[in-house]
């Protein structure tokens, strides 16, 4: 019996570790590649350790191949979309959880279901037409606004379920003390919701950072491309040099991975608990 259990745990470990390696190896190969030279990869294969830990590839990709611009563009898109969406989602979640008003259920359902379920692919064609009419093609706003809307819908969903779990007295006692709804939201509800806000902020930052189809359709000027689009453009132009391309991929992948590692328990919580509920 106990031998059986040990064998069971052993095979469990074996499978778990094997899978972890399968998932990690592509990233390790990528990071190792960033420190090498193309000729070295040809000579010694993809698994050899770098000859020297030089950041030369990073310097070249960042400053010779425009990734510095792509970084700035990605920050200029992600920061306003995420911060703006958190602010307006807090307001919406507050109203949807503590206020009563006509059409509440319908509006809630429309925002949450369509706003959360509609992916970029489903709206790329009309979105181009809309932004073209608004004169926003090649303007970062054309990427910021849809990202802001989708992020706000997702955060409204998560924050609302968080607010619904708070005791009603919290609101009433605030109102009795003479605070307005507005003050209760920002002075009482928002500070309590910090863990949920962190989860929403981290997830929507990662999603907005990784957004690709909207910029592909709406940003035609390479100088205005965010990182994923820039990475795709880069490969179209300089296909031959593996280490340079891996460096571009690493530069694109690193910020979300760092955010994930920083907020990891909250993100996994948000995924396993938040979205499932």
């Amino acid at each position: 019996m106990s031998i059986k259990k040990i064998v069971g745990a052993g095979s469990g470990y074996f499978v778990a570790i094997f899978l972890a390696l399968l998932i990690v190896i592509p990233f390790v190969v990528m990071f190792m590649g960033t420190f090498r030279e193309h000729t070295d990869i040809i000579r010694r294969g993809p698994f050899a350790l770098p000859l020297e830990w030089s950041l030369e590839n990073f310097r070249r990709v960042l400053f010779q191949y425009n990734f510095d611009l792509y970084y700035i563009n990605s920050v200029l898109i992600t920061a306003p979309a995420v911060i703006g969406s958190l602010i307006i989602a807090l307001m919406a979640a507050f109203a949807f959880s503590v206020m009563e008003f006509p059409l509440k259920r319908l509006l809630l359902l429309a925002t949450i279901s369509l706003g959360v379920m509609v992916a970029e692919v489903f709206i790329m064609i009309p979105l181009f037409q809309l932004m073209n009419q608004l004169g926003l093609v090649d303007n970062l706003l054309s990427v910021i606004l849809p990202s802001l809307a989708m992020s706000a819908c997702f955060s409204t969903l998560v924050l609302r379920s968080f607010f619904m779990g708070l005791p009603r007295e919290l609101l009433d006692s605030g109102l009795v003390d003479g605070a307005s709804n507005w003050q209760v939201l920002w002075k009482i509800y928002a500070p309590i919701a910090r863990p949920a806000i962190v989860t929403c902020g981290a997830l929507t930052t990662v999603w907005t950072w990784n957004t690709y189809i909207t910029p592909l359709v709406l940003i035609h000027d390479p100088a205005k491309a965010p990182l994923p689009l820039g990475l795709a453009l880069f490969q179209g132009q300089y296909v031959a040099d593996v280490p340079l391309i891996m460096t571009g991929a690493a530069l694109t992948a690193l910020p979300p991975i760092l955010i994930y590692l920083l907020f990891q328990p909250r993100i996994v919580w948000g995924i396993t608990q938040g979205t499932i509920k």
């Binding site: 990233f27 993809p46 989602a89 109203a95 706003g115 991929a249 993100i267």
Partner: protein, 301 residues
């Protein structure tokens, strides 16, 4: 006089109170309406026209949809997408169920560590994942071909993304790689909530591990399975597979999924009305899968 102003004040206040909730939700609901829901619904009207996106629209009713049925490129994209769906959704769910029951029931230490590793592919841009795998599958100096040479299986070397026999499955496996870990995370969290006594009791009844899985684990995980099914389906048909195929093969060698076909029809060939019809079919498939699985779940409950 006093009374009068009091009443005016009161009614004005009530009026403003009635608007207040709408002011709170206006930015979120408004931006969702303008930048997500309105564009989404516009697909339906676009699909009824022959239109290049700039010139005059010609109303042609359902002709775009009728043409789709006999469009060989669309049918090909549909078949390709079935392969992606199979590997990203079905294989991930089945393997995920098997592996997670091994991990969670074995009461391994460090489950949290494994969970956090398995989630990493979810946070990296699909374009970056595709970029890495382009090198892994590369014909010369690629990771897999190099590995095959080391272990003496040189005869298996081939340009994985560069021929119709292997390209679609090679791209599809990236989907399994990215989604299997996610499924396991969700299932392990679900299994850990199951009452251990159920397993103990079934042991007394002489149940084998497989029976335990079939009669205890699986029924309790049906909700988690539906969640992963819907999310993986959206990705196997939507933005994720779009970016991965575009960066790995550009849609060549029969790897083009429906979403990439819609993009190329609209933005390369200038057939905006037709491409909108493609998007609607795509949306229909996704909502169909989601609706059907939710319906089955509800009926079970």
């Amino acid at each position: 006089m006093n009374k009068g102003t009091g009443r005016v004040h009161k009614s004005r206040r009530r009026k403003s109170a009635a608007i207040v909730p709408y002011l709170y939700i206006a930015p979120t609901v408004g931006s969702a309406l303008v930048f997500v829901i309105y564009p989404f619904l516009s697909n339906f009207s676009f699909s009824l026209f022959q239109w290049d996106g700039f010139g005059a629209k010609v109303f042609i009713g359902l002709k775009n949809f009728i043409d789709l049925a006999s469009d060989e490129r669309f049918i090909r994209a549909f078949q390709t997408n079935l392969v992606y769906f199979f590997f990203t959704v079905i294989v991930s769910i089945l393997l995920g169920l098997a592996i997670s029951s091994l991990i969670a029931r074995g009461r391994l230490r460090g489950v949290r560590f494994f969970q956090s590793v398995y989630f990493i592919p979810q946070v990296v841009a699909a374009i970056a994942l595709g970029t890495i795998f382009r090198w892994i599958y590369a014909p010369l100096f690629g990771v897999i071909n190099h590995f095959l040479r080391i272990v003496g299986l040189e005869h298996l070397q081939r340009p994985w993304l560069g021929n119709p026999e292997t390209a679609t499955v090679a791209v599809a496996i990236i989907g399994t790689w990215a989604w299997l870990g996610f499924c396991i995370i969700v299932y392990v969290a679900g299994i850990q909530k199951i009452d251990e006594n159920l397993y103990e009791a079934s042991l007394l009844d002489g149940a084998k591990a497989l029976q335990q899985f079939w009669y205890i684990t699986l029924p309790d995980l049906r909700f988690e399975v539906v969640v992963t099914l819907i999310m993986a389906t959206v990705h196997s048909l939507g933005s994720y597979i779009f970016a991965v195929t575009l960066v790995t093969t550009g849609g060549a060698y029969g790897t083009r999924p429906i979403a990439l076909y819609a993009y190329q029809a609209a933005f390369v060939e200038g057939r905006v009305g037709y491409a909108s019809a493609v998007v609607i079919v795509l949306t229909g498939i996704i909502f169909g899968v989601a609706g059907l699985s939710m319906f089955l779940l509800e009926r079970k409950e």
